[in-house]
Structures are given as C-alpha cells and as structure tokens.
C-alpha cells in the first residue's frame, strides 16, 4: 500500500500543471541568465509532444522572440513531422529555420554505410526497400532484449532477421548520424545567436538511456527530464499544444519504416512504463503496480528487471569524459 486507504494508481503522476509550468519557466530564466549567461534558446522541433512542450516552456520563460526553432527533416522523415513542427512554431510565434539534413547525411555516408550493413544480413536490400530495428521486449523474451531487423521488400512483403552483433551495431551507428547532425546544427545556430540549446528528453527517456550520446542527448538545459511522459502530456494540455501533436503516436521517425518507441526500445506504451518506473523509484509493491497497469506481478518484475538492465547499459550515456583523479603531489 502507498498509504493508509490509498492504492497506487495513475493519480500518483498527476501534477499541478500551472505551478509546474511557472516553476520550470522560472528555472529556465535563472539558468539562462545566471549560469549559462546566454540570450535565448535554440530548440529542434520534431513534431512530437516532448519538443513541443519544451518549446512552449521556453517561450513562456523568455518570450517567443528569444526562442529559435529548427525543423530538420531528412529524406526518410515522416512529412507529418515537418508539418506539425511548422504548426507549433506558428502557434507559438517562434522564429526559426528549416534545415534539410539529407545532403549532409549523404555526404557523410549515413545511408550508404547503413545499407551496406543491412546487406550483410539481407543481400538484396536496396532501392525500393525500407527497414527498421525492432526489439523483442522483456515481456516476450523472458529476459533478453534481442534486436532484429525488419525489412519491407518492394513487393510490400515483410521479413524479420536476427542480426550479427557487428551488423546491429553498424546499423545503429550509421543511423545515429541523424541525431548528431541535427545537434550539430542546433549548436551552430546557438553559437551564432549566443543562445543555449534545449534537450527534450522526458524522465523515462533520460532514466532509460533512450537518446544518442552527443546527439539528441546533448544540451545545455533539459527542462522536462524530471517529468514522466504522462506529466508531459498534462503540461501540453495546460500549454495549449495543438491537439494533433498531443494525439500523435510517439515515433522515433529515424528509420525508413515507421517505428514506435515500443518497437525500438520500451517494453510497453508510455502510460504503463511511467507507472512501472514510478513504482520502481518509489518502492511500490509489485502487486500494486500490477493492479494499476493491468499487468501480472510477474510481468511487472520483468519490466523492472529490464529497466535496471537498461540503466546499466545506458550508464555511459550520462558520463562526461572520464579523467584520471588528481595525483596526491
């Protein structure tokens, strides 16, 4: 039990959106002026809920005239991302730029390198094909997260392939160029304007390492990294984020085949993941988390085990460059 007469449920994640928005806006102003000593914020908009809320918070904190937004599509992006990003920028009154990163990615060999790795598993892969990485989650594998490659052939048939480790790592490494290229551009504009860069991870993503180091994980401030995804939605509602953005299924928008967050990384949809993470962080008994999520106690145990494993695997993502401690002389 979480308290006398109280059972654990979604209410545990409810917050006072008005107060939280003001608290974050105040914190952003203070950090910007007193710690970072910059004049405004740069933010990359993906058309998703997290970056939309961060942009609205930044505009609330320092005024829309001091927030510069970037829309950075590439040739495999869902066109809806650009459209929704433009809608949000318009609604908030933000200045910004559209930077098509496809030529940069092509010049660096992002697509070519990735496809060469894919062809080690699927020799015919090429023009007209599409692909994504999917994960067998803790709930289906009983313990191990084994990633597979899903390809769609030109005839629209789907195949799934387990990958050799070097092929999996190669595909992910090439794909990570997308997030790192976007961050490169964010810092270009930030340096040009003397602004700071906003990171858009929520608590679940930050805790579980669902970001690319020196890519979308790089930032000067992370204003929603303390909030569960359910709470980000509450702020979105309070901030008046357009309904189409709030209703959109969270996707990575990184692979040429559409890919949800659960397919790539998380074991469950965010509502259940939030409750499981909250339970893990607050020592809520597995039975109560099971009742709140509709899972069995055994399944909650598997999700928790997976969460702990992902924290360990992702620990390096949070580390700055390690240095030798000062010698005692």
């Amino acid at each position: 039990m979480t308290g006398i007469g109280k059972r654990f449920c979604e209410k545990a994640l409810r917050l006072n959106a008005t107060a939280e928005v003001e608290r974050i806006a105040r914190w952003l102003r203070t950090e910007l002026r007193q710690v970072l000593r910059k004049r405004g914020f740069v933010i990359g908009l993906s058309g998703g809920i997290d970056s939309s809320v961060c942009a609205a918070l930044a505009a609330r904190a320092v005024g829309p005239e001091r927030v510069f937004c970037l829309l950075m599509p590439e040739r495999e992006s869902d066109p809806e991302s650009l459209h929704l990003g433009k809608c949000l920028a318009g609604a908030l009154g933000l200045d910004g730029a559209i930077e098509d990163i496809s030529p940069t990615l092509e010049a660096m060999g992002c697509y070519e390198r990735r496809d060469a790795f894919i062809r080690q598993a699927v020799p015919d892969y090429g023009e007209g094909w599409a692909s994504k990485i999917v994960i067998n989650t803790a709930l289906t594998t009983r313990a191990y997260n084994i990633s597979s490659l899903v390809v769609r052939r030109p005839d629209r048939t789907i195949q799934k392939h387990r990958l050799a480790p070097h092929v999996y790592l190669g595909i992910v490494a090439a794909t990570n160029m997308k997030q790192r290229t976007r961050k490169q551009l964010e810092y270009y504009h930030a340096d040009r304007l003397n602004y700071a860069v906003i990171g858009t991870q929520n608590r679940l993503e930050h805790d579980q390492g669902f970001f690319v180091k020196n890519g979308d994980g790089a930032a000067d401030v992370k204003p929603i990294a303390h909030l569960y995804k359910s709470q980000v939605y509450q702020l979105a509602n309070h901030l008046g984020i357009p309904r189409r953005i709030c209703c959109r299924t969270p996707t990575t928008d990184t692979y040429s085949l559409s890919q949800t967050h659960e397919e790539f990384f998380f074991a469950l949809p965010y509502r259940e993941m939030d409750l499981c993470l909250y339970g893990l962080e607050h020592d809520i008994p597995a039975g109560e988390v099971a009742a709140a999520t509709g899972l069995s106690e055994r399944q909650v145990g598997l999700v928790w085990r997976d969460m702990v494993a992902k924290r360990k695997a992702g620990n390096y993502l949070h580390q700055p460059a390690r240095m030798i401690p000062q010698a005692g002389y």
Binding site: T141, Y144, A164, P165, Y168, L169, A313
Partner: protein
C-alpha cells in the same frame, strides 16, 4: 568433449567481455548478467560465437537464461546441440589459440 567446450566458452568470455583479465572470470554457475559481464548486446555476441565457432544453429526461442545465463548452462546447451548433430566438436579453434580468434581478427581489420 564437454571440458573442451567449457574451456572455450571461458576463453571467449575472458577475451571478449573481460579484456583478457582471467581474474574476473566467475565460477561456472554464476549468472553472467547479474555479474554485469554480459548484457543484451553481449548475448548477441555469445549467440554469434556459438553459431560461428561451434557451427551450431541457435533459434530465437533458445536465447533464454536457461541456456545463456551461466558458463555451465552455455556448456550444457552447446554440448546438447553438438550431440544432436552427432558430433563431439564443431569447428577447430582459431589458429591463434584463442577461441575468440576470428572475432579478434574482425576487430583488427580496417573497414573498407
């Protein structure tokens, strides 16, 4: 031979996950994941090693802790698979004498 299989698994783990440090190798019945020696990416490497080095196919449903969590379970799994195939041993060890020899050579090569 089971002892040979066990030795080769231990050598692979030392070379691949422990940077050659034999002192960190756990006992045969200790969980490799609980000891933070192998994570999910490491499991993929183990699967690849089994398939390439012992020349045995590993199906997705077989990639479970019952077969992969300890050195002893890995050895039993491999020995059982080899017995099914009617042989006592898969491919010969790499010429370097390291059971992870092929793996090491792959790491040292230049990407074209």
């Amino acid at each position: 031979m089971p002892n040979s299989v066990n030795t080769e698994i231990r050598s692979f783990i030392v070379e691949t996950f422990l940077l050659g440090d034999h002192s960190q190798l756990p006992d045969d019945d200790v969980s490799l994941t609980d000891r933070d020696i192998v994570d999910s990416a490491g499991i993929l490497e183990l699967v690849s090693f089994l398939e390439e080095h012992f020349d045995i196919p590993v199906a997705d449903p077989e990639i479970v802790p019952e077969n992969f969590d300890t050195i002893a379970r890995l050895a039993a799994f491999i020995t059982g698979k080899l017995a099914q195939q009617g042989c006592s041993r898969g491919k010969a060890p790499a010429a370097s004498g390291r059971t992870g020899g092929n793996h090491a050579a792959k790491k040292a090569s230049w990407v074209p």
